[in-house]
Each structure stands twice: as structure tokens, then as C-alpha cells.
Symmetry: none
Subunit: 411 residues, 2 copies
């Protein structure tokens, strides 16, 4: 079967928004063994939408359309859908109720344009949107399916994950491939490939495929088995072998999040954590707090960006700062030890570095970062060099700090 | 005239790589008044490429193709181009020399597959690639142009910027459009549309177009003038009018970032800032620190997640927490005032809320957030209800807090 994605929106065509929806949909569909063969990005005009539907129905069995479902004048997808499927808009009372609740709950006035969002093409099946006011629509025609979804990523993703992916799987009776993903951090793609060469060759010789999926601070390895779940035990064995080759890098599987992996270990051990941050500016705190339930083990953090606050809030000695500089092993250690005491936690992570673009010297170039972690029993400090990009340096430091904690303080 | 982008590559379709090339090309072409009307993303098979060319030549005048020009077996674009334009590959000696130099300079062995990259279709004009081994190709057919470029972003961008954009401008004798984007926060799409209805109708009646571009916490409005820069003064007038209608929401233009807009105001006023965060968990600190040069005005933050740290680090009274709860106006105010004193800044932003998914009650549902901002002279506190999504609640709180500061404390 052929799948196709149609992304509607001038903002995509003129590059004001990067089309992350299409790639997310492509990867989610690939996981249920549906391969997207075509993507179209088109303007939000009647003609462009009609033409894209014609083309898609000619060559594809499943068509997912995103965008153009907002309440404003330039959102015309719903009207074009009515024309294409030769139907009319009717009020869906379930949707109307949900939209009313949506505004009531937020204590906001509901406008007429919002109530218009409860009108849907008569022939479609409504897909509920629990995070916004634009419903999804499922159309069938000659054994083919067209699904229209809002372009807002978290609304679209919520509906896909909660309802649509399963519904697609059933409708097309797709046989799932078996995938398993191992998550690594702290190692580059080419270096990892070299290190696991023999393991990889052995894996490939058994008919599996391996994909390297890199992003900042993270490198996922995905194994795909063409013969479904029956290879599960074999893949598990390969994963255990891989973990033995690079134990310091493998931190989890599938959709695990490093901060969550660490959080679960802390919760289990009944330990608490805090951070004292300079170059990451609250980024470690934020990464920990993004995990729901983190209040079980996370106490708080001090972002000590200025010299003054490093001294006042966490008792770093001014002498240390003057003698070794803010970006030094000595300062990092005093930050971690000071934070441990001030916030009375079992572990404290400290970061201090030159995120850039300014502030680098020959001796300490932009990208130099010291990370120290203190517990009551020991202290561990390490220096990293990440590179020129400020945002990347901050993100790399967060990953490195959390992984340093995992490798040196947690079982 | 119609422009179209064809992106070739399975890695794009299955979402392994996000198609940033298409959006970059769209925005660059928009700047020279060429509007991309269609993007196709296709598989790297002969059939898919031939079909995409046929379709594109039917509806578009300018076609830019990226991808499939590497030295490996799965890169077949060049062969399909030969077939499509009914021509053959011939060695281009200038290119061969450049490829040889490329390997010499990098002290790497040149393979036979690399020398094959010097062979180009006879009918095309070669576009030199100074950063890689795959040349660009310019084809003309019936007054239309097809340009084939490598998919490696920095190679493609280099060739576009150095040579191709100017060449396109000359060939099609294009006249530049004029765009201007206004940035708003703290207002939803439908509510804004209602509020600016008359202004919008007036604008549209003058022949301008208006696009609403929403993302979490942010709503961009882009005006496009079809008659080039001569409308600049008129658009400026419309923007000033709009700012008068929604002054609390408009915070900048084009690519401005809210934390940067605020940072510039703080720097100019010689004022400093800190934050005391609960539900945002360092997110406000992180947003401020992401801006390069923020150490000029940013001192630090205290993330006081636990009751203990709220009391120990920022002197919130335990009595206040017990009587009113952590998520209350009283606690938010004590956090802001405590932070102001402890970190000795001119302003301090405090956040406390129920980010979710757990922790909500009937009285204080998930998404309830109190934000307080203190200066030496005054205190401002406000309650918000955002919704169910933890990550979104944190992001919305960050935007709301920064905008509250802008509206109530900065000129």
C-alpha cells in the first residue's frame, strides 16, 4: 500500500515554519510498517487542495492531510473537503459540547468562529481533539482513506497516537515490523560505528537492519526485524551484547528519557537531587522537571550566573573564582559541594562553562565546560569540549551531566 | 510565475531527516519574490523522479530539485535527468580538476566513484560546488528552468547564495514582494481575529494579505504586499494601528525573540533580573540564558521545587504555604519578594502552578498557574489557566511571565 502526506499552509512553502509534521508522521507510520511514498506541501487555496486530493487518490491508499482547520478566514480545508466529498457541514453536538467545555475550563469567552468549528462534513467520521478545538476527520472512498488533521503539532500528534494509528492499522490490516530502539549518549556516530563494527556485521548477517538516528546529545540505534515479534528474544540478546560493549553510553530503550531513567533510579533509592548551574542556566533543572512526578526526588536548583550569586547563594569562594576562573574544576567542585549543603540533597550537579559565542580564550575556547557532581561521600568532576554553537553546548552539557551522574553515582 | 521544490530521499519520507532544505529554499525564494507553490518529497526511484518532473513541468516555471547526487548506488538523480532531457553524461574537465583538488587538499584517497561525479548531462549548465564533489545542474526547457542540487544542506545553500539566486532573478526578471511580520503573545488565534476584525478587513480591502502563524505561546501575523517595497510606509502605518489595538500582545517584529526583546530593554535601563521558579523548573532562567550576552542583566535564579527550599532559599513562610497552598497568590508574591532580596536584582519573576498531569483539584485544576513579579517599588501578580499538557503549560507560563514583565515593568 502507498501512503501520502499533504501539508497545507503557505507558512510551510515560504519556509516560515519547518514541516516537522510530515517527518513525524513519516516516522510514526514507518513504525506500523506503512511507508510514506509521497509528501506534498501546498498552498491553502481551493484549487491547490482539490488538485492535491485528486493526485493523492490516484496513487495512494492512505492520505493524511494536516493544516487549514483553524477558525480564521484563511483556513479553508473543511470547505474544500465538503466540495471534494460532495457533502455539507452539519453541527456535531459532541464536538460543540467539547468546545464549550474547552472555553469554560479556561475561563475564556467562546466566540462564534469557535462554535463554527463544531460543524463537520456529514460523511466523515469525527476524530476527537482533546487538546484543541479543531476536530480530526476520517473519510473513506473506494477502499481508500483520507484523514484531515489540524496543523498544530501537539494536537495532531495527540490524535494520531491516541486514536488514528491504531485505526489505520486495523483498517489496512498491516502486519507490523518489529522494531527495537536502544538509546545512547556521549558517543558520536562514526566513533560508535567503529566500536560496534563486529556486533553490527553479525546482526546484519542475521537479516536484521540497523539505523543510526542521531540528534543533539543523543544517538538512537534502531534494529528492525522483517519477521515480526518472533525475533524478540534474539533482538534482546543483541541488545544485551551491545550494552556490554558500551555500558557507559547505553541508558535506555524506545522512548526512554535520560532524566526519567535517572529519576526512577533516584526514586527507587529514596535519594534526592539538586543542581547548581552556570552555563546551562537552569537547563538541567528544566530537563528534570519536564518529567512528571519529579517532585518525588527533585528538590530544586540554584542558577548562579553571576560571580556574586556563585558566592552569595552557594558559598563559592571569591578567591577560587579569581585564582582559577569561573570555568574551572575548582569552581565546579565548590558549586556542587555548596549546592549539596544549601539544598540538603543526596546529589548535586554543578555546571560551569563557556557556552559562546563570546567569552572564549586560547586556553579555554568556547565550548569548554566543567561538570562536577557531589554526594556526601564523593565528588566527581570532568571537563568537556563541545564546540561553537551556544544552544548545542547547553544541550550537550545537560546530557553529559545527567549521564555522568548515572555512570558514577547510580546503579 | 510558479516555483516548485522536489526533495528526493527516503530518509525524508520516513522522517529520519527533517526536510529543512525545502523550507530554507522557500524562504530564500520568497525574499526575491518567487513564491513556492508546491513541494514534493519523493522516493529515490526512477519512476518517482520521472513522475515528479512531469508533474512539476506541467504546473511550474522554476523547479529546484535536491538530493540523490552522491557517489553511491542509490543516488540516481543524474541518470534520470539524462533520460528526462534525452541527453548523455560527458566528463566535465573543470569539475574533474576540482574534485581531484578536493581530495588532495583533504589528504584523502580519491575513489573511482568520485571521479564519476565529474560526468554531467551534456545539455545542462554546470553550477560549481566549492564545498563538495557533486556539481549543480541548470536545465532549460520551453522557457522553464530545472535546477538539480545536492541534498547536503551547506553545499546546497552555498551554491544558491553564491550563484543561483541571482541567476534565477535575472532569468525570470522578478520584482520583489514586501513582507512584514508582527509578533504577538498572550492571545489566541480566534480571539485576536475577533479583536482586529475591522483592522483586518480594512487591510485586505487595500489588497494586502494577512496570515496567522500560531505556535505554542506565540502568534505571528504576516502582512504581504503584492506591490513591493513602495507599500512599506503603508504597512508600517497598519502595524502601528495594530499595536494600538493590542499593545499588551505585540512584542516585536520579524525574528525577534521575547526574552531578547526584554533583555535589550533591561540592558538599556541598566536593570538586572532574577527568577524564583516552581512549576517552570528553571524554564524562565533557561529562556533568558539562551540569549547570548544575557549575563549583562541576568544574575541567576532559584528553582524552589520543594516546600523546604521555598522556605530555606527564598524565605517563603511555612505558614503561607500551609494556609494558602504552594499555588496561590500569597506564595507567588512571597517567592518574588524573597528572590528580589536574596539575589539583589531590580526585578524578580516568580512562578508556581500545577503543570500536571497529577496534582490538580476541583478548585485548582491542572494548568492553574500564579505568576508574580516584584520590583523594589511594586508587585504584580496574576493567575492563568492553561490546560492539560505539562510541557505546554511550562512553555505558556514562560511566555506569560516574560510578557507580564514587559507590560507592567518595562517601557
Amino acid at each position: 500500500m502507498n501512503a501520502e502526506i499533504i501539508s497545507i499552509g503557505d507558512e510551510l512553502l515560504i519556509g516560515q515554519t519547518i514541516n516537522t509534521n510530515a517527518s513525524w508522521l513519516g516516522s510514526e507510520l514507518a513504525l506500523i510498517n506503512i511507508k510514506v511514498k509521497n509528501c506534498q506541501t501546498i498552498s491553502d487555496t481551493r484549487e491547490a487542495i482539490m488538485q492535491s486530493f485528486d493526485l493523492a487518490f490516484k496513487r495512494s491508499d492512505l492520505i493524511i492531510v494536516t493544516g487549514g482547520l483553524g477558525p480564521t478566514k484563511d483556513d479553508i480545508t473543511k470547505h474544500v473537503l465538503c466540495e471534494y466529498f460532495n457533502t455539507k457541514l452539519v453541527v456535531n453536538n459532541e464536538v460543540l459540547k467539547r468546545i464549550e467545555d474547552y472555553f469554560l475550563k479556561r475561563d475564556r469567552v467562546m466566540l462564534e468562529v469557535n462554535s463554527l468549528q463544531a460543524s463537520l462534513p456529514e460523511v466523515c467520521e469525527m476524530i476527537p481533539n482533546y487538546q484543541g478545538t479543531a476536530s480530526g476527520m476520517w473519510f473513506e472512498k473506494d477502499g481508500k482513506v483520507l484523514i484531515s488533521l489540524p496543523g498544530v503539532p501537539y494536537e495532531m500528534k495527540g490524535m494520531m497516537t491516541d486514536i488514528i494509528l491504531e485505526k489505520i492499522g486495523k483498517f489496512f490490516q498491516v502486519k507490523a515490523l518489529y522494531h527495537k530502539t536502544i538509546l545512547t549518549t556521549g558517543i558520536g556516530e562514526s566513533f560508535l560505528a567503529e566500536k560496534i563494527k563486529d556486533w553490527e556485521n553479525d546482526l546484519l548477517s542475521k537479516g536484521f537492519s540497523l539505523a543510526y538516528l542521531p540528534s543533539t546529545g543523543l544517538l538512537k540505534l534502531r534494529i528492525t526485524s522483517p519477521s515480526g515479534e518472533k525475533d524478540e528474544a534474539l533482538i534482546d540478546m543483541y541488545f544485551q551484547e551491545l550494552t556490554k560493549i558500551i555500558p557507559e553510553n547505553v541508558f535506555g530503550y524506545e522512548n526512554d528519557v535520560l532524566a526519567d531513567v535517572i529519576g526512577q533510579k533516584l526514586r527507587k533509592a529514596g535519594k534526592t537531587i539538586s543542581s547548581v548551574e552556570s552555563c546551562t542556566g537552569g537547563g538541567i533543572a528544566n530537563e528534570i522537571v519536564r518529567v512528571a512526578g519529579s517532585s518525588d526526588y527533585y528538590q530544586g536548583s540554584i542558577v548562579a550566573y553571576s560571580y556574586d550569586l556563585k558566592c552569595d547563594l552557594v558559598d563559592v569562594k571569591l578567591e577560587t573564582l579569581n585564582k582559577f576562573g569561573a570555568v574551572s574544576e575548582e569552581t565546579a567542585i565548590e558549586m556542587a559541594q555548596g549546592g549539596l549543603k544549601k539544598m540538603n540533597t543526596d546529589f548535586c550537579i554543578a555546571t560551569t562553562g563557556i557556552a559562546g559565542p563570546a567569552g572564549g580564550t586560547d586556553e579555554k575556547p568556547v565550548g569548554t565546560v566543567w561538570i562536577a557532581i557531589a554526594s556526601k561521600e564523593k565528588i566527581h568532576a570532568k571537563c568537556f569540549y563541545f564546540g561553537d554553537n551556544r544552544q548545542r553546548n547547553m544541550k550537550m552539557t545537560i546530557f553529559a551531566a545527567l549521564n555522568l551522574l548515572r555512570n558514577n553515582f547510580l546503579d
